[in-house]
Symmetry: C2
DNA sequence: CGATGCTTTGAACTATTTCAACCTTAGTGG
DNA sequence: CCACTAAGGTTGAAATAGTTCAAAGCATCG
């Protein structure tokens, strides 16, 4: 059974969307066990695996990725503390992508058998877990919009806005800044760009005075202006407590 | 209550993933009501709506879309018969995107109250509905990979491969071909390209002898070659019946 | 101090957009 | 049955965006 603080970031996350009962908190504590640490650049889950547990990120940055035939990598999601990385594996069974730790990660595990029990005996909690996967899907859709129809600078701006809000939920921001240890090569794999171009896009945001970004720290200099530039509307993140 | 044939495409879809009991089929029949027809180019749901029902597509092609500040449109998913288009609205509540009928559509409605009942009293069926949203999320991720790291021709090839398989599930293919009434402008909004370039990419696939595409019909000339070119691995579609 | 792993730069090349025109197809009304 | 029209498809050429390659600059760590 999990320490109280082990599920704390998850609680912060879920309680943004709806109220949890004591019983529900207790069920989560029962379901989530065994802490695990993964070094930066190591796989947390490998494509083709059929895991029997799902991973809850407690600290660090992790991402899903696919490798194309010519060896290029594309990240398809980016995760911060309090988020399930592969909750979907509970129902999807076989991993169609890998998951990598982009920085040193602390991870808790949830047995699929325990998740199944939640769906059978705690339907409201199950709906909130379902919602977690739906919010991730909404994030993917915004990612598609940005890749397809925004400038690269606007895409990067929206990633920064979104990350800021997701980190804020779990108290990982300090003023207008947050710790962000990804290299520009990793960022390029997020945005589907070459490293060179990624670098130039970052410089655009710097030159425009939107952000400061050095030594693994991003500082937002003017939230309003950055948000307008990114056309960032946080509605899709569903940060709003209501009965679900 | 729904006609038997009203939920048939949905049953075909769900039964690809796991077995359904008679009771579960009956619950779906109870949940799914009121048929509705929507003309091509009309909105099925509008951004900002808080619908009380979710839409199941019975016939036609529909898509989610977002409009950017400068008026450009990006589609973020494409749906065929047997798929829920906005099942997520049941938990997400507020639509963060619109849904448009790309061709004349026949749609059935599922009350959110009935879906809630399913989560409370039919957990296995609820998991299969959850799975439906997870498969859609997997499709979005592949879309991101294709936009970020594949050639436009390979992206288009993979869209065609995927559509073929999804249509096959609900018996909407004839030999190697299927009816596909989207204009090249609509396709451009799927791939995030200009209409001109979209046209050139289609011509590439034609010239390479992969497909024939005219008069609203796509014919795959050599499935194996197309699949290899697209690097299409259907694993992410989860077309495999197993206990969930 | 000297590696090592990012980050930054320049320049040539390729992919994609834009604009403006023209072509083709499938109706529609006479 | 034909002429007309509207919508969608196709083309060329110039402009912009993004990649590639190769090198140089900058931090961090032992």
């Amino acid at each position: 059974m999990a320490d109280t603080d082990m599920i704390e970031p998850l609680l912060l996350n879920l309680e943004q969307r709806d109220r949890l009962s004591d019983d529900e908190r207790e069920m989560l504590r029962m379901a989530i066990t065994r802490e695990r640490r993964v070094a930066a650049q190591e796989d947390i889950v490998t494509e083709g695996d059929r895991p029997l547990t799902s991973s809850l990120l407690l600290d660090g940055f992790a991402a899903r990725y696919n490798i194309t035939g010519d060896g290029q990598r594309q990240l398809t999601s980016l995760h911060v503390a309090g988020e399930f990385i592969d909750l979907h594996a509970f129902l999807v069974k076989t991993m169609d992508h890998g998951i990598i730790a982009l920085s040193p990660c602390r991870i808790a595990m949830a047995d699929h058998s325990a998740l199944k029990t939640i769906t059978e005996s705690a339907p409201h909690l199950a709906r909130l877990l379902w919602l977690d996967t739906l919010v991730q899907a909404a994030i993917s859709r915004q990612w598609i919009v940005a890749m397809g129809r925004r400038s690269r600078a606007a895409h990067l701006a929206q990633i920064i806005c979104e990350l800021y809000m997701r980190l804020q939920i779990v108290n990982r921001v300090e003023g207008g800044s947050f710790h962000f240890p990804l290299s520009q090569t990793q960022m390029a794999d997020i945005m589907g760009l070459s490293t060179v171009h990624m670098n130039r896009v970052i410089q655009e945001l710097r030159a425009a005075g939107f952000v400061t970004w050095s030594r693994e720290r991003i500082t937002i200099l003017d939230w309003g202006r950055l948000q307008r530039f990114a056309e960032f509307d946080p509605a899709y993140l569903n940060i709003r407590s209501e009965p679900r």
